[in-house]
Symmetry: none
Subunit: 195 residues, 4 copies
DNA sequence: GATGAATGAGAATTCATTCAT
DNA sequence: AATGAATGAATTCTCATTCAT
C-alpha cells in the first residue's frame, strides 16, 4: 500500500468532470471519481480535503479554460467565437452539461455561483470588445454595445440549452442563421453609415 | 365544512418546488418535502409512489404552467412576453432556478429531459407564431421566422441565466434595451419594405 | 423490512451503556450499539438523531438513576450509602467505568459536563442533609457540614477510581475502615458534646 | 550550534498531552499531534511506531512525573501535598483532565491501566509514610495508617473530579477546610494520647 | 388516508498505517 | 531523520423505500 505519485490532482479533476456529466451532481460521489481514476477514496480526500473543495477547483479550472480560450482569440472575429460555440453545442454536449450542472449547483453554493458569475462577466466583456472593433457604433439605436455583448453571450447559452434539451434541435441550421443574423446586423450598421 | 389538515397532492408539489429551489437536487429529499408540508414521509409516499414520480409530476406541472401562461397571451404582443420574462428574472428568481435545476436533473433522466424539450419547443412555436403576426417576412435575410422564435426564447433564457449568476446584473437596462432591439429589428423590416 | 416496534429506546440505551463500558468512547460506535440490540444502524439513528444525542440521553438516564436511588434512601443512614457505594465498586465496576468514561467525554462536551456536575451537586447536597440529621454540629471545627458532604462523595469516588485501577485493591478492608472512620468521626462529636 | 526544527520525542509527547486534553481520546489523532508539533504524520510514526506506543510513553512520562514530584517532597509535610493538589485542581485543570482521560482509556488497555494503578499505589505508599512520620498511631481506631494514605489520595482525586465537573465548585473553601480536617484529625490523636 | 418504525444501501469523511524517496 | 502520497477499513450519517397499523 502507498504507491507514491501514481496520480496527479489534474487527473482526478478530469475524472471528476466526466463523473459530473455522466451522473449529474445527484450521483456525483467521490467514490465514483476515485474509481474512474483507479485510486481509492482516501486518495481523492488526500488531494481535495472535501467534496466541495474538489467541485470548487473544478469550477476554477473551467473558468480559467474559458478565460484562456477567449483571450487567445485575441485577433479573432465574432465568426470564430460562434464557430467555437457551435462546436461545443449538441444534444450530448459535454461542455454545456457541465456548465449547467455547475450553475444549478451554484444556486446553493455562493462560491461557485460567484465564480461562474465572474466568468460570464468576463465573457461578456470580451464579446463587447470584439464588437467594438467590428462596429464603429451600435447598429441599433438604444442598444449599447455592452448590451450586445450580453445578448450574444446569452444567445449562445440559450441556444445550447435548447440543443441539450431537444434531440431534434436544428443545430446546423440555427448556427448558420446565427451567422446571417450577425452579418445582417453588422451590415445594417454600414448601411446606416453610408446613408 | 372544510376539512382541516388535509394535504393535497398539489400542496406537496408546491412544497417540493420550494425545496428544490432552496436546496437544489442534492438536498432534495422526500423528508424535506414532508417536513415543509407538515406531514410524514409516509404521506408523501402515499401520494407519489417514488421520488422520481414526484419530480416527474412537478415537471409536468411546470410545463402546463408554461403552456397556460403562453396561450393566454394569445392576443399578446412580444412586448408583453418580454415584460413577463423580465418579471421572472432576477438574482433570486424562483422560476429560473427551478427550471435550470430541472434541466440539469434532466441530463440523467430522459423523461424529464423530454418533457422539458417539448416545453421549449412549444414556447418556440408560440413565439414564432407571434412574430409571424407581427412581421410579413423576416427582417433579416437568411434568418427564418422560425429561427427568430428560437433566438428570442434562447435570449430570454440566456439573460435569465446571467441574471441569476451575477448579483450586479443590470436587469432593468438589459430588458429596456431588449425592447429597443425588438423594435429596431421590427422597424428594420418596415424600412426594407418601404425601400 | 420495517418491522414496527421491535425495540424501544430504552433497550437501545441499555445496549449503549454496555458498549460504552466494554470498549470505551474510543470504540463506542452506533454500529456496535445496533448490533448489540439486534437492529440496524438506521434504527438507532431513527431513535437518536445523532451519536451525541444518544450519549446525552444516556447521561440523563444515569443522572436520573442517581437521583432516584438517592432520594429513596430518605430514611437511610450513611451506613447504607456506604454499603451501596461499595457494591458498585470493584475492579470491573460497570457503574464507575461508565461514570469515568462519561466524565472524560464531558471534558469536550459542555452539555455532558454540566449534567454530571449537577448530578454531583445533588449527591453532595443529599449527603450533607443526611449528615445534618446525624450530627447536631460538625465534629471537626473549621469543617462545615456542607464540606463534609463534598468530602464523603469525593472519598467514595476516589476510592472507586483506585479500585478500578488496581486489581489488588483491598475493597473489603477499605470499606470496613471507611465505616470505622465514619463512626469514629461521629462519636467524636458526641464526645465533644458530653465534655 | 543548535539545530533548528529538530523535533524531539519529548516535543511530540508534550503536543500529544495537549491534544489529549483539548479533544479527549475521541479526537486524539496522530495527525493532530503532528500538526500541533508542525511536523508530518510520518514523523510521528518515525518516533513512535504506533499510536498505542505513543500513548504508552505518555502514560509513562506522567507516572515518572508523579514519582519525581512526590519523592522531592521527601521532607515535606502533608500540608505541602495538599497545597500542591490544590494548585493542580480547577475547572480547567490540565493535569486532572489528562489523568481522567487516561484512566478511561486504561479501561480498555491493560498496560495503561496497570501503569496508572502502580502510580496510584506508589502515591498511597508515600502518603502513608508521611502520615507515619506525623502520627505515632492512627487517630481513629479501626482505621490503619495505610488506609489513611488511601483515603487522602482518594479524597484529593475525588475533589479534583468535582472541581473539574462543577464550574462553581468552591476550591478555596474546600481546600481550606481540608487543612482543618487534617489538623483536626491529627490533634485528635494527640488528645487521645494525652488522655 | 396517513403514520411511524424500521431497513439497507450508500454517502462523506477520518484515520492509523505503510512505504518509496 | 523526515516527508508526502497512498491506502483501506471503519465511522457517522442520510435517504428512498417498505409495511403493519
Amino acid at each position: 500500500m502507498a504507491k507514491p505519485n501514481v496520480i496527479t490532482k489534474n487527473d482526478l479533476l478530469q475524472s471528476a468532470k466526466q463523473c459530473l456529466v455522466e451522473g449529474g451532481i445527484e450521483k456525483f460521489t467521490l467514490r465514483a471519481v476515485a474509481e474512474k481514476s483507479g485510486v481509492t477514496q482516501g486518495t481523492v480526500y488526500y488531494h481535495f480535503r472535501t467534496k466541495e473543495q474538489l467541485i470548487l477547483e473544478l469550477v476554477q479550472e473551467i473558468c480559467e479554460d474559458s478565460w484562456n480560450s477567449l483571450s487567445q482569440t485575441d485577433e479573432g472575429v465574432l465568426k470564430e467565437a460562434i464557430e467555437s460555440a457551435k462546436s461545443r453545442c449538441s444534444y450530448d454536449s459535454f461542455y454545456h452539461k457541465l456548465f449547467i450542472t455547475l450553475v444549478s449547483t451554484g444556486f446553493t453554493n455562493e462560491k461557485i455561483r460567484h465564480q461562474l458569475g465572474e466568468m460570464i462577466g468576463r465573457e461578456n466583456d470580451i464579446l463587447t470588445r470584439q464588437l467594438e472593433k467590428l462596429w464603429s457604433e451600435s447598429p441599433i439605436k438604444g442598444v449599447s454595445v455592452e448590451t450586445w455583448g450580453i445578448f450574444f453571450n446569452a444567445l449562445v447559452d440559450g441556444i445550447a440549452l435548447q440543443a441539450i434539451l431537444k434531440k431534434d434541435f436544428p443545430i446546423e441550421k440555427t448556427y448558420a442563421e446565427l451567422e446571417h443574423f450577425v452579418n445582417g446586423i453588422s451590415s445594417l450598421q454600414n448601411k446606416e453609415e453610408s446613408e
